[in-house]
Each structure stands twice: as C-alpha cells, then as structure tokens.
C-alpha cells in the first residue's frame, strides 16, 4: 500500500478548514482524500468514500452520530474504530489539542497512520492560527472605526483638529491605564447619552 492508495475521509462542517486539510494531505502525497462538509452526514457518503482513515473535527456535534454509524452500519463493510494506540498517547493528545479525532479501519498499520495524522494536526493548527489572525485583524478594523468616530465627536464638540483629538484620546488612555479603543467607546456612549440618541 503506497501513499496514493490510502483513502482518507475528512468530516468537517467548516468547509474552509476541510479544504485546507485536504490540500495539506494532497501536498504530502495522499491523493485520495474526500471531504464531507454536510451538516447531516449520511451512511452512503461514508460508504462511497470507503475510507482507511477518517478525521472528524472535535467541535462537530455529529461525532456521536458518526461513531454510531461506524459501529452498527452493515453498509460500511470495514469496521472503523477510534485510533487509541496507547504507546502513542502524545500523538493522540496533540490531535485532541489541535481539535481533531482520528479513526482508522481495522488492519491499517499504525506506522502508516502516523505521518497522515501529523499532517492533519499541523493543518488544523495552521487553520487555528489563521482564524486567530483573522479575528485580530477584524477586531483592529472595528476598533479603528470606533476611534475614528470618537475623534469626529471630539473635533466637533471642542473645535480641535484631528491630530489633537487623537492625542487627547491617547493621553486619556495612558492616564487611566486603559486601551485607546475603550476610551473611544466611552466617548461615543457619552455622546449618545447626552444627545438623547440610542445608548
């Protein structure tokens, strides 16, 4: 059995993450990767994929459903069980930390699974980092909008230019040991209250 023979099924309702993992596995030489991203997994999808290895993301509420299918469905001809090798507890913990659970069909050798699992783990982690990065960017963008609004309010109310409004916000933040975005939010809230607008 070569890399190209091993059939890998990725079950993840986050399509972006699923495709990142799929891509990673293909780059590593595993060409037979299929993905189920449906919210309602069907036995026939698993039968069609006829996997040697199955990855399910840990947040997937369908894990209980899928495990039951693996256990009782006659249509799935080869028994699929969770990868529980006790000599490789570190590997399993790394997988759970990354947010992925691994299942293998009876008979697949542990040595064959290891590199596949490593790839999946690193891709799961890469996705988490990417998501964090995205969240940070989004937050920064939102904070900038808040700061711009607060600056506008200060400029109108006090008749000062933009750079002074900015300096005022920054100085206040430093004096109160708070973040500039928090001060800006307070300015907006106060202005809304004073103008009788919505809080």
């Amino acid at each position: 059995m070569t890399k190209a023979d091993i059939r890998i099924l990725v079950i993840d309702d986050n399509r972006i993450r699923a495709s990142i993992i799929e891509e990673g596995l293909r780059e590593a030489g595993y060409s037979r990767v299929s993905v189920i991203a449906e919210p309602r997994p069907m036995v026939r999808d698993i039968v069609e994929a006829d996997p040697d290895v199955v990855f399910i993301d840990l947040e997937n509420p369908n894990r209980d459903v899928l495990e039951h299918m693996f256990n009782v469905s006659r249509a799935i001809s080869r028994p699929i069980a969770m990868f529980v090798d006790r000599s490789d507890r570190d590997m399993i913990e790394a997988a759970v930390d990354a947010g992925v659970s691994a299942y293998i069909v009876d008979g697949l050798k542990k040595e064959r699974l290891k590199p596949i699992l490593e790839t999946a783990i690193s891709r799961f982690n890469a996705f988490s980092r990417m998501r964090e990065e995205l969240d940070r960017t989004r937050r920064a963008l939102e904070e900038r909008k808040v700061i711009d609004r607060a600056k506008g309010i200060l400029m109108r109310q006090r008749g000062i230019p933009e750079d002074e409004a900015h300096a005022l916000l920054r100085r206040t933040a430093m004096n109160e040991n708070r973040r500039i975005a928090d001060i800006a939010q307070s300015v907006i809230t106060a202005a809304d209250l004073l103008s009788g607008g919505k809080p």
Binding site: P39, R40, V43, L58, E59, N60, P61, N62, R63, D64, V65, E67, H68, N71, V72, S73, R74, A75, A81, M82, V84, I92, E93, V96, S101
Partner: protein, 425 residues
C-alpha cells in the same frame, strides 16, 4: 441559601476544577454553581468548557483535559467497563437531577396513534399500545420501519425508549430502526422526515411542538417515575488524588441544586442558561422544561406531575440501584455481559460514599440506604435518615415491573424482548 465558607470542613486550599458540559438544561446545577458563586464560596475556580458531542466529553475526560464532566448516567459505567476508547475509570459521585425527558413523534405518526386510541394524557401505556398498532399496520402494508432517534448508545434515553417500546410489545431491534441524532438537531430531523420520533431532554421536545412538526407521546418520568438523568462524572484517578476538591464541588453543586429547585429562581435560570455562553436558545423554549408545564401537542399546556426536579427527594443522590438499572439494560441489549466482575465494576463506579462524606457534615438529610428496590414506592414516602426528614418520590415503572438490584440476573432474564442488536442498514 447558605454562606458557610469552605474552610468549615477543615480544608484550606483553593481548587481549580476543569469541567466539560454539553449545552442542555440538565447542566443547570453545574452552571449555577459557577455563576451564582456557590463554587467560589467553596474556594473553587470552576472552569466550564462547552463541548458539542458526548464523544468529545468522553475523550477529554479520558485524556485528562477535564477533571469532571456533565455526563449521561450510563457513561461512567461504560467507561469503567472498558467499553469506550482510551479506557480510564470514571466514577459517579453525584446525580444532576431526576426526570426531564420526553418521547416525541411526528405529526403523521401521532395521527395514526390517535386513530388507535392515543390521547393527550401522556400515559405511556395508552401511547405505546397505539404505537404498536401503527407499527403493525405499517408492517402489514409493507411500509418501511419507523425510525426513532436517541442521543447516544450509552444514554438513559436509549434505555428508556427501548424499555417503553419493548414493554408495549414493540421490539426496538427489529420492529423499528434506532439511530443517533444530536439533541439540537432532533426537530429538524423530524421536520425533514429523516426520523419519525425520538427521546430527548427538554427543551428539544417542546421545540418540535412549538414548530408544529411533532407531538409529545409520553414522558420518561411517566415510564419510570423519579428516573435518573445526567450525572457528575469524575475521573477516578483525579477523584482519588483530590478528595477535598471533589467534596467541595459536591457541596457547591448541592447548594446550586437547592437554588435551582426553588421555583422563584426559574426566570433567572432561564436567563442564565439561554445566554450564548451556555445553551444559546430562546428563553421562551426553556421555561417549559423547568416548570414541567408542557403542551404535548396543539392543546393547552398541562402540568405534568414530577416532570423534573433538581434537589428535592434526594434528586442528586447517586443511588447504586439507579446505576445498576442502567447496567441491567446494557446487559439486556447485549452491550456487555453479566459476570460477577462486570457487576462489581459497575457497582464500584457509583459512589454514594463520596456524596455522604461531602454532605453529611452539612447536616443534609441523607437516606440510610444507598440502594433501593426500584418500583416499590407508589407515592411520596418518608425514608429513614440519620439526620432530618427526607421524602422520596414514587419510583414505579409504568408496566409494574420491579427492579431489585440484588436480583439482576433474574431481572434481565425476565424480559421477553432482549439481546444484542442485529446490524442496522
């Protein structure tokens, strides 16, 4: 509400306890213990981590990510018997309440059942006989079997549904198909025609009634009165190494259970649990499950007797007889074998001794016995305690059978319908 500091029991430490939970109403005691400060009063920093599947709860307890978790009552038994991946023994030092589940069927199935005498009383016998007629009719007409869903193979729901079906003459292994669906998806699966009925905790029965896609046929508190629900599962090795932390947690959760049981706190529980951090559901759908005032179908809501309680009638006491009843059903349906060793393992996973040790010093009324003959109390009955007055609720099975935990072998042998499942399609 009591405000005794944690130090009254002679321990000083501050504990951090990591607990997993599934967003369900019966996680209330755990959530309230944290949010209303009961855990903090005991010096516990209770870290609650939400999970989406019982499989993830099971794995993360086994791998040591969680010290304790909100669990399906049969899960610690299954884990202790080695029926789950990763192994590792789990104990049950506390129960999280009694009742709270129901069985819902699709409108089409309910229509058929009504034609065979089912009414809106929620009576399990009438409903079950009507369902048997529907099942027989479908068989005669060559229609496919009805599909019923439960939440997990090692769940009280699985055993309650099977018990009800089998007692009404419907073989859950052959006359219907059984499948697994996560609780929040039950209503969609019913609406989409993927399943014909299911057994689950509230609010996921009322959700189908409100959506107009199903009818509540009966409740599990009618199938087995005062039947146990979720439990606090603790990793056995953690519990052994941290007896003070566990005792403090039991005390905090005991106080939380009293708080939850007080009707006046229902609106606050709803507000707390419905938030996005916990259940993330509409507050209106949660009230029914808390108050036990349910609309079974299109009719007016009715108050179901003893639908759910969190604290009274020793609702959090981990009865060995409750655990062994689940074990008896695991044996009945071929999930495990009955041997002196398996029986002993199951028995040892239920730990009323730890519950007593934690709550005895508080003067909580505790039953003298740790096991009872289930089905022997027809009404609320006072029981012997060392300290204070305690009443237990009725505990009968709807078919009149009695479970004596000392006679498990006879009990299991007494079921006409039993045995491992033929594989499903």
């Amino acid at each position: 509400m009591t405000t005794e500091p944690a130090t009254t029991t002679g321990t000083t430490g501050d504990f951090t306890i990591r607990a997993g939970f599934i967003p369900l109403l019966d996680a209330a005691i755990m959530i309230v213990a944290k949010e209303m400060g009961f855990a903090r009063e005991e010096g516990i920093d209770l870290v609650l981590i939400r999970e989406s599947s019982w499989a993830s709860i099971r794995d993360r307890v086994a791998l040591g990510h969680f010290d304790v978790a909100h669990m399906l009552a049969p899960m610690p038994i299954a884990a202790s018997l080695g029926l789950t991946p990763f192994g590792g023994k789990i104990i049950t030092p506390m129960c999280l309440g009694l009742g709270g589940n129901a069985i819902t069927v699709s409108n089409a199935v309910w229509l058929g059942m009504s034609e065979h005498g089912a009414d809106s009383s929620g009576d399990p016998k009438t409903a079950g006989e009507a369902l048997r007629a529907v099942v027989a009719e479908r068989k005669a007409r060559g229609l496919p079997r009805l599909t019923f869903a439960v939440v997990h193979p090692f769940s009280s729901h699985n055993y309650y549904l099977r018990y009800w079906l089998a007692a009404c003459g419907i073989d859950p292994r052959t006359d219907v198909a059984l499948t697994i669906v996560p609780p929040p998806y039950m209503t969609d699966a019913l609406a989409g025609g993927h399943i014909d009925g299911y057994c689950v905790g509230e609010p996921w029965n009322s959700a189908s009634v409100v959506a107009g896609v199903g009818h509540i046929a009966t409740t599990t508190s009618a199938i087995w009165k005062s039947s146990p629900e979720k439990v606090l599962g603790a990793r056995a090795d953690w519990a052994e190494r941290n007896p003070d932390a566990l005792a403090a947690l039991i005390r905090a959760m005991h106080r939380a259970s009293l708080w939850c049981d007080s009707g006046k706190n229902a609106p606050e529980i709803v507000e707390l649990l419905s938030s996005s951090r916990y259940l993330d559901v509409a507050p209106s759908t949660m009230m029914t499950g808390l108050t036990g005032r349910l609309a079974l179908g299109e009719d007016q809501p009715q108050t179901l007797p003893d639908f759910r309680y969190f604290a009274r009638r020793a609702a959090t006491f981990p009865w060995i007889s409750h655990g062994l009843w689940f074990f008896s059903q695991m044996v009945r349906w071929g999930q495990t074998e009955l041997t002196p060793a398996t029986l002993e393992t199951a028995r040892l996973s239920i730990r009323p001794d730890l519950y007593r040790k934690a709550l005895g010093p508080l003067g909580v009324a505790l039953p003298n016995a740790s096991s009872k003959v289930e089905g022997s109390l027809a009404m609320e009955t006072p029981v012997a305690t060392a300290d204070g007055r305690l009443f237990l609720g009725p505990d009968g099975f709807f078919d009149g059978k009695v479970f004596d935990p000392d006679l498990i072998e006879d009990y299991v042998a007494g079921f006409a319908i039993a045995g491992g499942a033929p594989e499903e399609d």
